[in-house]
């Protein structure tokens, strides 16, 4: 990458993302927490739901996305809390670049963590609950839905986590703020996933992909406009 010519904005975004990624590479605290939590959730589902062979087709999409949502919340919380506690945020705010660069940097690193966890959970799930549709979990279509859904979730989640971390109630507040607002993402992701796993015609999947795309675009745009107001001192 030609450092002289790439825009300072993109450099700032990448700086934030790279900081998070390298920090996590060294300590691996966040990823291990998210992973263990995700696997625990899947384990609990085994007892909570009837997951015998016949039920799996119906239930897989819901179980997977519930797991992703909870693990994602954990990641979002920890990621922003670290910024606040170590005062990294203040340092970043002094940089002479548009504040939304921080937002996009955080979104990228949060997204990376969430996707990494999802990519590990999927094969584990396929092994624990094998079914005829298991191979469909690794098709581009399914993975595409996972990506689109995660983007929407992390886009809103990062914004809300930035707020939540500045309140007294902190960790507890993020899920409360996030879930009602993220309903379209979760519903669309589950439905699109389910349609793919049940090998339904593409026409069944498309409307949900539209919802996901619209949501992602709208909320990333919103976050871009509004992030400045959140990190003002």
């Amino acid at each position: 990458m030609d450092a002289e010519r790439s825009s300072p904005y993109l450099k700032a975004v990448w700086a934030v993302t790279w900081k998070d990624l390298t920090a996590e590479l060294r300590s691996r605290e966040l990823l291990s927490a998210m992973l263990v939590f995700a696997l625990l959730v899947i384990l609990i589902f085994n007892f909570a739901l009837e997951m015998d062979k016949s039920a799996r087709e119906n239930v897989t999409a819901g179980v997977l996305w519930t797991t992703f949502a909870f693990a994602g919340t954990l990641g979002l919380n920890r990621s922003m809390a670290v910024e606040k506690d170590r005062g990294c945020l203040d340092g970043l705010l002094l940089a002479p670049v548009d504040r939304s660069a921080i937002y996009f940097g955080k979104v990228l690193s949060n997204l990376a963590f969430m996707i990494l966890v999802e990519l590990i959970v999927l094969p584990v799930y396929a092994v624990l609950y094998t079914s005829p549709s298991s191979r469909l979990l690794f098709t581009p279509a399914f993975l595409g839905v996972v990506l689109l859904g995660s983007v929407g979730y992390v886009a809103v989640g990062t914004l809300l986590a930035s707020m939540a971390v500045q309140t007294r109630t902190r960790d507890v507040l993020l899920p409360i703020l996030l879930f009602p607002v993220a309903v379209p993402v979760l519903v669309a992701s589950v439905e699109a996933s389910r349609a793919i796993l049940q090998a339904l015609p593409w026409g069944e999947v498309l409307p949900w992909l539209n919802v996901l795309l619209v949501y992602d675009v709208i909320f990333i745009a919103l976050a871009f406009m509004v992030f400045d107001s959140i990190v003002e001192e």
Partner: protein, 232 residues
């Protein structure tokens, strides 16, 4: 800052009157509906309170945007008042909807799009109030509140569309009735009159309550400022 302005006092009386008339129209003037019986009478207040709730929702979303643009704390008070009143009215609307559903569909709750979206909206409101609770600084509280109102204001309509799409794929199965009817019935003229009057009455009641809640907010702000002064 203690006695109510003249106009507000008049509004109080007018609102009380309108509520009484609306109640009379719903309970007596409108005929009993043949298929559902007396329970259908809750429909008038159900529609009216849902309407007022929607009004509050829009006011809150607009107030949020206006605060972010103008940074004038009065918009924060407007948003908070709108959320609180809308919270109460949507609660009434949802409960009345549930009560209306019970004898007809044999279930207290049906996950149909409007009811589900209303429930999610209530969650958004509660989250908004909890968010404010956790922030001391009035300016930051206003800012964060406005951002969340904006997010909620956009996501809730998208939620409604998503759930409606969801329901076309997974229709609600209800006992003994057409699930798509959603409690439809033939409205006679007097029923239509009762419904329209209730909507009008509750709109006026909303305005009155809103004014009262704004005054309460102004007083609360004054007290907060006095507290700071007393600490010096």
């Amino acid at each position: 800052m203690s006695s109510q302005p003249r106009v507000l006092q008049i509004l109080n009386v007018v609102s009380a009157l309108l509520l009484a008339i609306a109640a009379w129209m719903s309970l007596s003037y409108a005929p009993t509906e043949r298929v559902m019986g007396a329970v259908q009478r809750v429909f008038y207040f159900h529609v009216a309170t849902a309407w007022v709730g929607m009004l509050g929702f829009i006011v809150a979303a607009v107030a949020g945007v206006l605060y972010l643009v103008k940074a004038d704390l009065k918009w924060d008070k407007v948003g908070l008042a709108a959320v609180e009143i809308s919270l109460v009215f949507f609660f009434i609307a949802v409960v009345l909807g549930s009560i209306w559903a019970r004898p007809i569909w044999g279930t207290w709750w049906t996950w149909e799009p409007r009811l589900t979206t209303a429930a999610i909206l209530e969650m958004v409101y509660l989250a908004y109030l909890l968010l404010r609770e956790g922030i001391e600084d009035p300016e930051r509280r206003a800012r964060f509140g406005a951002v969340y109102t904006l997010l909620g204001g956009i996501s809730v309509p998208v939620t409604f569309v998503s759930i409606r799409l969801f329901r076309t794929i997974h229709p609600v199965v209800v006992m003994g009735g057409n699930p798509n009817a959603q409690g439809g019935f033939n409205m006679e003229t007097s029923m239509l009159q009762a419904m329209l009057f209730s909507i009008f009455a509750f709109s006026v009641i909303f305005a009155t309550l809103f004014w009262h809640r704004l005054r309460l907010g102004a007083l609360a702000e004054k007290v907060e400022q006095l507290k700071l002064k007393a600490l010096q």
